[in-house]
Symmetry: C2
Subunit: 299 residues, 2 copies
């Protein structure tokens, strides 16, 4: 997996303690920052998504990273690189969608430049005031593993778009809506980060639930046991897609059991135990995903 290889090189070149989580925690400024990109024909296809939905998704994807850290999403900047034939309507619709998605989050800047294809990169800022910040290194033996909602819907929606003749921007289908207009789990994140005292691990499941579980197990040096029958999912969606399909933008967290009486709106899917890092699905140790649906370096 080339991306992981590149990240190893970056870590060793920079020798920085910050690289590792989706957000960087800047303690002196009381904030976290993350940056995420959407590239035409890699992350989206113009024939499936409207400019409004693209603006919406750009913001949600970046808010989701902030939610994964436990911080409160506050500000976002958006850089757009656009082909020369881009019209005013695209810009207006893109920013209307971005504004709708951002709710209480302020869009405060960015830049516009030319390019061959559409490249979007956004940076999001979260405030850590009254919040405990997560790290994927923080899962501990005895912790419970919880998720915020259904998995596999977005990948199922993408498959529908790829297979059938769907109208651009169609969202009356539940799965397609999950793919084109995901929702960041702002409330789930807030409930945990405001109520927890102990260190905890949390990630969003943008690269798939299995991927997030492996990242936490490896970074925390623990075994994660998952009962797949407990994972919330639509009955139409097969378990492979539930585990490996990405872009649901749900949250998965490993938290101490005593937190659970203080919060609501979660589903327990497993627990953490000591041992050589791995993830066991119904007792079976599966290999780490190498070629998920959303490994953008492979086609």
């Amino acid at each position: 997996m080339k991306e992981q290889e590149f990240i190893k090189i970056i870590k060793s070149t920079l020798n920085s303690p910050y690289i590792g989580d989706d957000c960087a925690y800047l303690e002196d400024l009381g904030m976290v920052i993350s940056q995420d990109s959407l590239v035409e024909d890699i992350h989206f296809k113009k024939e499936f998504i409207t400019p409004y939905q693209l603006g919406y998704k750009t913001v949600m994807v970046n808010i989701s990273d902030i939610c994964a850290s436990g911080a409160e999403p506050k500000y976002i900047t958006i850089s757009l690189s656009l082909p020369k034939d881009t019209d005013n309507e695209f810009i207006e619709q893109f920013y209307k969608g971005a504004k709708y998605a951002s709710k209480n989050v302020e869009i405060v800047g960015g830049d516009i430049t030319g390019s061959d294809k559409i490249y979007i990169s956004a940076a999001a800022i979260g405030s850590t005031k009254n919040r405990k910040v997560s790290s994927r290194k923080n899962a501990k033996a005895g912790y419970k593993v919880i998720v915020s909602g259904e998995h596999g819907n977005s990948a199922t929606g993408l498959n529908l778009l790829l297979k059938d003749n769907h109208t651009k921007g169609e969202i009356n289908n539940k799965f397609i809506k999950a793919h084109l207009m995901p929702e960041a789990q702002i409330e789930f994140s807030r409930r945990i980060a405001e109520n927890i005292k102990e260190d905890y691990a949390m990630m969003d499941t943008s690269d798939g639930l299995a991927d997030a579980l492996f990242q936490i197990a490896n970074a925390s040096n623990v075994i994660i046991n998952v009962d797949t029958t407990k994972i919330p999912h639509d009955l139409e969606v097969d378990m492979h897609t539930v585990l490996y399909g990405g872009e649901d933008y749900q949250l998965v967290a490993a938290v101490p059991e005593n937190l659970l009486q203080k919060i609501f709106g979660y589903t327990i899917i497993g627990d953490v135990e000591q041992g050589s890092p791995s993830v066991r699905f119904d007792g079976i140790i599966l290999k780490e995903p190498e070629n998920s649906l959303f490994n953008h370096f492979k086609e």
Copy 2:
């Protein structure tokens, strides 16, 4: 100028007070943020710049935005979108250059995704602690206009690269070095922002000195008078390139005269007077640049 048209649409769609300066000032968090992108074949050509220099320039360009605000550059995140054939050596050299440029600024994250061409977007964070933040709206009648250094060198370097057969990454020529490895004006910014009490305007000259002067004059609703004979420049560089060539990453500021006894390392090139917004070069009102060397939407 399409970019300006797009920015007008964005402003009216978002109705946000933050859009306008290169950096957004997030007062509640005591910080500024800016985001800037570099796109292959729009902002750079692979045959001219080494991966090391590209990493260096990515960081410097973003630090320069923070310097323009008067804040102290602190953190940076970098998103890279790279073609599939990108090798480990590119990543290592890119980040070595980025690290060299960043000095006391920490590179804290970002992401890597696939793409057809190289697309780089970085977000930079500055701390406003003990600093007065600039705005291009803040130039006032009676203020002096000062610059940090020579203009026109970078554009001259680009022209040399485009015309002649230069070795990739060559920097023994002063102009080519100015183009490939510019230096952000960290000290110039610090001296002003730590010593000034009054509101002031400051911009970097990434899109050219004339462009920055027009932006300040328009946003502040003032006339800026410039004595072109005072603008620091190499004698080999003609005045058109000095005024309209971009990417020098110097700073230009409009500041009250009483500041000047407290700082050093500046050159006075003009002053501000009341009146309908315009820029007068040696008394002549020139038209606002519509098609500068660095208007990336036109080829």
